[in-house]
């Protein structure tokens, strides 16, 4: 018994939350998750207020409550905020909160990275939202089509481009974190095929973020180069093309819809089995259709561009692809209905929201099927019909499921339940208010009302429909406020709920109430999808410390890392403790993105260096630490290593995943090169000389040298030849410098002027992209070298070197490809 008490005390000490002002330095997922959700809802309410003002403006014809200028800023911000500051972040926020508990982990693998993501999100969000109070908000629509947005004076477009690129960093950081979490931090025995459906969805959506956000970041990069330095990527008078942006935007924008939708469906996949008191009917169906939906969602983007004058063959293809995605989406809904049918339904408020979500989403899905027929889209595109459609999908497919999820997980996070009466009232108010607002819009649109109009004439006959929509919007808002009030009202006298209040089957409900920050008392062995239902002794095993990792003898925060498929323990990972570093890094990166809005280059550089300094200090002191012993006894006679490197470690996976996203962004820029090739009769255009093949060849040679030297350094180091490894690292560093210089020398010596035409602009764009990556690689080489010299990187403890090598696999490939394309492609013409 005393052993038990000591162990618990150790856990409590290791996982103690910082107090007072220092509590803002917290990094634990249960804290960050709550902050993240709160911040996302604050932004959501801001976006909602904008919507109410717009609805008031449109309540009557010829209204002049707000000016066209203000209206245009408002609809731009409304879309931007709801998409980038609510819909995507709420997924990450909820996942950060519940995922570790669901997988039986004590925390996510990189708690400080979660905190960093949160601070980027908060700072970027306040910056973007705040712009409207200075009349400086973007006003070209959330899709930012050039040339309207490129030629716009003022800083609005820069606020959008830079602010959102910054927030996308946060999104990608969270995606990396969550993917590694699902792959590597499952409880022992939780084979990939026993992972809760939610985990699968997180995996699919995380992967989608990695492939969908980078094209937008690449687009932002090109766009900001045009705005800041006059590089004509989208300017037709100098060989640019505005449609390039539309492609890049919608290659991001359409998967994004599913990035928003799938995690919310994932919540339903947890709630519905619980309240049906049975396992989900068709686990394989739902996992496969989640993957299928994610996959197909990348092939639909052109349905946002049906009216841009594409040939009929493309229209037909993308119509068919857009219809096809309805099939895996539908399967998921059928699985839910089947689960409820076979189960013993418990009628609760979350289930009411689930039904509301279903009723709403099906309407959105059906109008989506209609819009996917290209000829019908010719009529409905850019009208209120589409406004109705997208709100039915987003509110039915995202908001109602998230509200259901909050109702469901509220006791998990707080130990209290929400009021049933308030819940039912807020449901009916939001559900009725929503339908009164948006159902008439289908008709308003087909009666000819375009989107994004700040007013309309009385003689159009749209006044009654618009008035009804406005009234509905306020009912909707009232219901939502009631929901928020229910969440935030003091519940001091309400006793804590009993453990596993809903009698759920999954691991996140195994914790005590109130929840412990370290999660479970000890980590049990899992052998079913619903361990709480299937293993009656589970809670006793956990509580008696008979599971794994029951103590924190060394006073460190530890979680188990397991293998990707079979969830065999491979490492005891010591995760980050509270620190201000993530916040400081976010401030530094924020400055790097925000100062360029005003073209303040010195503060930009200063912020960038500050960011770099903080990150290096963070890595130096907090990662790949050499432990005091090789292995740790995690209980049940198992000894698990404290240090692993390469593919078994979380860091290597994080690097791999990040670089996959980075590669996607690079390919999107490269897509720009070939896109211009297809729109120009001669490419390079007549009268403009390419960068020649000689310098790119030299650059390619040095890149191979760097790549090989770094790989050689890892092998030499592992073989104990430390001096050789250091020499190779230094050689690699030199090679990176030289290849960067050689790469720039090509277009420089042939006098390519990036402001003259899209061809030199895209060549320079590729070169700049690679040179920035080479610069980051040089920092990494120097870092690894320093780690080796200071004894933090040894032949046995070489995680840093594995990760740097992995970085060069990607960057070397991209740099070689760039040299080949800019140097070699003109030779083929």
């Amino acid at each position: 018994m005393t052993d038990q008490a000591t162990e618990e005390k150790q856990l409590a000490r290791a996982w103690a939350r910082p107090k007072g002002l220092a509590s803002f330095s917290d990094v634990n997922n249960s804290v960050i998750g709550v902050w993240y959700i709160t911040a996302a809802f604050v932004f959501m309410i801001f976006g909602g207020v904008l919507a109410l003002i717009m609805r008031t403006q449109l309540a009557v014809p010829d209204n002049n409550l707000i000016s066209a200028e203000t209206y245009n800023q408002m609809f731009t911000l409304h879309g931007t905020v709801m998409m980038f500051l609510f819909a995507v972040p709420i997924f990450e926020a909820v996942a950060i909160l519940i995922l570790p508990a669901m997988l039986g982990a004590r925390d996510l693998p990189f708690p400080r990275l979660s905190a960093f993501g949160f601070w980027c999100f908060a700072i970027g969000g306040v910056f973007v939202c705040g712009s409207i109070f200075f009349n400086a908000a973007p006003d070209a629509g959330w899709f930012m089509y050039p040339p309207l947005s490129t030629e716009q004076s003022g800083i609005g477009a820069d606020v959008w481009l830079l602010g959102l690129s910054f927030i996308e960093v946060a999104s990608i950081a969270a995606a990396v974190e969550l993917i590694v979490g699902v792959l590597k931090c499952r409880a022992p025995g939780m084979h990939i095929n026993l992972t809760p459906a939610y985990g699968w969805y997180v995996l699919v959506v995380g992967a989608m973020i990695l492939f969908a956000f980078p094209p937008l970041i690449a687009g932002d990069f090109l766009f900001e180069m045009e705005r800041a330095f006059n590089w004509p990527f989208f300017d037709v008078t100098r060989g640019g093309d505005p449609l390039l942006w539309q492609h890049l935007f919608w290659i991001f924008g359409h998967p994004e819809v599913y990035i928003i939708f799938l995690p919310s469906i994932a919540l339903l996949a947890m709630i519905i089995p619980t309240f049906s008191q049975r396992p989900i009917a068709g686990y394989s169906w739902i996992v496969l259709s989640a993957i299928g939906t994610g996959f197909l969602s990348f092939g639909l983007w052109v349905h946002h561009m049906f009216t841009t004058g594409l040939p009929s063959i493309s229209l037909g293809f993308f119509s068919a692809a857009s219809e096809a995605v309805a099939i895996p989406t539908g399967i998921q809904l059928f699985v839910f209905i089947a689960t409820v049918m076979l189960g013993n339904v418990v009628r609760t408020v979350p289930m009411l929201y689930c039904l509301g979500a279903l009723a709403t989403f099906i309407v959105g899905g059906l109008t989506g099927v209609m819009l996917a027929i290209a000829p019908f889209d010719f009529q409905a595109h850019d009208t209120y019909f589409v406004v109705a459609h997208l709100h039915y999908t987003l509110i039915g497919g995202m908001l109602f499921p998230v509200l259901a999820g909050i109702q469901y997980y509220y006791p998990f996070a707080t130990g209290k339940v929400l009021s049933r009466a308030y819940g039912i009232w807020s449901f009916w108010l939001t559900f009725i208010g929503f339908n009164v607002t948006f159902l008439p819009m289908h008709l308003t649109g087909l009666l000819g009302m375009p989107r994004r109009v700040f007013t309309y004439g009385a003689e159009r006959g749209w006044d009654l429909l618009n008035l009804v929509s406005t009234v509905g919007a306020f009912i909707f808002a009232a219901g939502f406020l009631l929901f928020v009030w229910d969440c935030v009202r003091p519940k001091g006298k309400q006793p804590n709920v009993k453990r596993n209040v809903w009698n759920a089957g999954t691991l996140e409900w195994a914790g005590r109430v109130p929840a412990d920050d370290w999660g479970l008392r000890s980590i049990p062995l899992i052998n079913s999808r619903y361990p709480l239902w299937d293993d009656p002794k589970l809670l006793r095993t956990i509580d008696s410390g008979k599971g794994l990792l029951a103590d924190a003898k060394e006073g460190r925060r530890e979680t188990l890392v397991t293998s990707v498929l079979d969830a065999e323990p491979v490492q005891v990972l010591r995760v980050g403790t509270p620190t201000w570093l993530p916040m400081l890094a976010a401030i530094g990166l924020g400055g790097t993105f925000i100062f360029p809005v005003w073209k303040l280059w010195w503060p930009t550089l200063g912020s960038g260096l500050f960011f770099l300094g903080v990150v290096l200090y963070w890595l130096w002191t907090g990662t790949a630490e050499i432990p005091e012993k090789q292995t740790k006894d995690v209980g049940n006679g198992r000894r698990v290593p404290l240090y692993v490197a390469g593919p078994r470690s979380t860091g290597w996976w994080a690097m791999f995943i990040t670089m996959t996203g980075d590669l996607t962004a690079f390919l999107a820029v490269l897509f720009g090169y070939f896109f211009f090739w297809t729109v120009h009769p001669a490419f390079p255009p007549r009268g403009i000389e390419g960068p020649g093949w000689q310098w790119p060849l030299v650059a390619g040679g040095f890149i191979i040298l760097t790549w090989g030297a770094t790989l050689g350094a890892r092998l030499a180091n592992a073989a104990g030849r430390v001096a050789l490894a250091r020499g190779l690292l230094a050689a690699g560093l030199l090679g990176a410098v030289l290849s960067g210089l050689a790469l720039m020398a090509g277009p420089w010596t042939t006098g390519l002027d990036p402001t003259e035409h899209s061809y030199p602009a895209i060549v320079w764009g590729l070169v700049v992209w690679i040179v920035l990556h080479l610069a980051a690689g040089m920092v990494m080489q120097a870092y690894a070298l320093a780690r080796s010299i200071f004894g933090k990187l040894t032949p046995r403890h070489d995680a840093d070197l594995w990760n740097v090598t992995l970085y060069w696999h990607f960057t070397g490939f991209c740099a070689l490809l760039t040299a080949l394309v800019i140097g070699g492609f003109p030779l083929l013409q």
């Binding site: 245009n72 259709s289 009929s312 209905i337 049918m341 209609m370 000829p375 010719f378 009164v436 008709l443």
Partner: protein
């Protein structure tokens, strides 16, 4: 929570009520895809009603199943049932249904080819926030006009769409679908009006501050009436008293053929008074509105390039108005 069972009923009730209300409200069908007056619009309106009916049935079936799953007394208990339910409901039915819909829906894609002759060729240049028009005569000459489209009933008209600034979209809901005007390329849209009457077109792609005020009347004539209109449009202006117009500098931006041919920034005004609106569908063309327009154009239409003529003498302004109102 016995109320749950009411969701479907209430939803359907609300839906049908709102729909009826909406149709009543639609007393002005000049700009409505559901009151077609062109070939494409007719087909698409039919397609819409067909898909809506199908969608409503599917919605009721699915929600019926969901509500039955929650409240139903006799429930299936076998996993095999679940599998079949998901397979037939989620895979077979949508695959077949969507395939049929695609076949019928995609049949409505435009099937003409580049080079197929149209009965009338109209060049449209969309600019912030108005429409520059050019009608091709039989001998290939271009007759300039602006902000009001006239078409002969029954003729297939090809619009060649360009823009000089940002992306716009040309949309006459009563006649058919829309098409974007994108810098650097010329998009083509074909429409065939089937009923004479006055309709209205708009810009459908957000294009800046006055996107909401970028519209145009569309007048579909019987052929003879159209020919008469077209003949008038080909003639130069016949109006006296152009002095005020010229001295105020209006000619720097506007062409009035036969009087002032230099300006090209703003709309051609040769037959201005024959049009129905001012400011691209923004105000009805009346003498009073024209005065207001000259005094404060950017108040009426934010972001418009037309400068204010508030500072010139009232008499001079009256003379300009009088001159313009004569340009039939």
């Amino acid at each position: 929570m016995g109320r749950t069972s009411d969701i479907a009923k209430r939803g359907m009730y609300a839906a049908s009520l709102l729909f009826a209300l909406g149709l009543l409200a639609a007393c002005s069908p000049q700009q409505s895809a559901l009151h077609p007056a062109g070939e494409a619009a007719e087909e698409l309106a039919n397609l819409f009603w067909f898909m809506t009916a199908g969608g409503a049935i599917i919605w009721c079936l699915l929600m019926g199943a969901a509500i039955y799953a929650v409240v139903g007394k006799k429930r299936p208990r076998s996993e095999r049932f679940a599998d079949r339910f998901v397979f037939f409901g989620g895979v077979v039915f949508p695959t077949v249904g969507l395939a049929i819909l695609l076949v019928f829906g995609l049949a409505l894609l435009p099937n003409w080819r580049e080079g197929d002759a149209a009965d009338l060729q109209v060049h449209v240049v969309a600019e912030q926030f108005w429409w520059r028009l050019g009608y091709e005569t039989d001998d290939g000459a271009i007759v300039a006009a602006a902000n009001e489209v006239h078409l002969p009933v029954g003729a297939t008209v090809e619009f060649a769409l360009d823009t000089t600034d940002v992306i716009h979209s040309f949309w006459i809901p009563s006649l058919g679908g829309k098409m974007d005007a994108i810098p650097g390329r010329t998009n083509r849209l074909r429409l065939t009006p089937t009923k004479a009457g006055v309709y209205r077109g708009v810009c459908a792609e957000f294009c800046g501050p006055s996107h909401a005020l970028m519209a145009f009347p569309v007048v579909v004539h019987e052929q003879a009436e159209f020919d008469a209109w077209f003949e008038v449009q080909q003639k130069p202006a016949i109006a006296a008293n152009a002095e005020a117009f010229v001295s105020a500098g209006c000619g720097a931006c506007h062409v009035v053929r036969g009087i002032s041919e230099a300006g090209s920034v703003g709309p051609d005004l040769t037959h201005f008074a024959s049009r129905r609106t001012i400011g691209a569908g923004t105000l009805e063309l009346t003498q009073a509105n024209l005065e207001v327009w000259l005094i404060a154009p950017s108040h009426i239409k934010p972001g418009v390039r037309m400068p204010s003529f508030a500072t010139i003498e009232e008499a001079e302004r009256d003379a300009i108005v009088a001159f313009l109102m004569e340009l039939k």
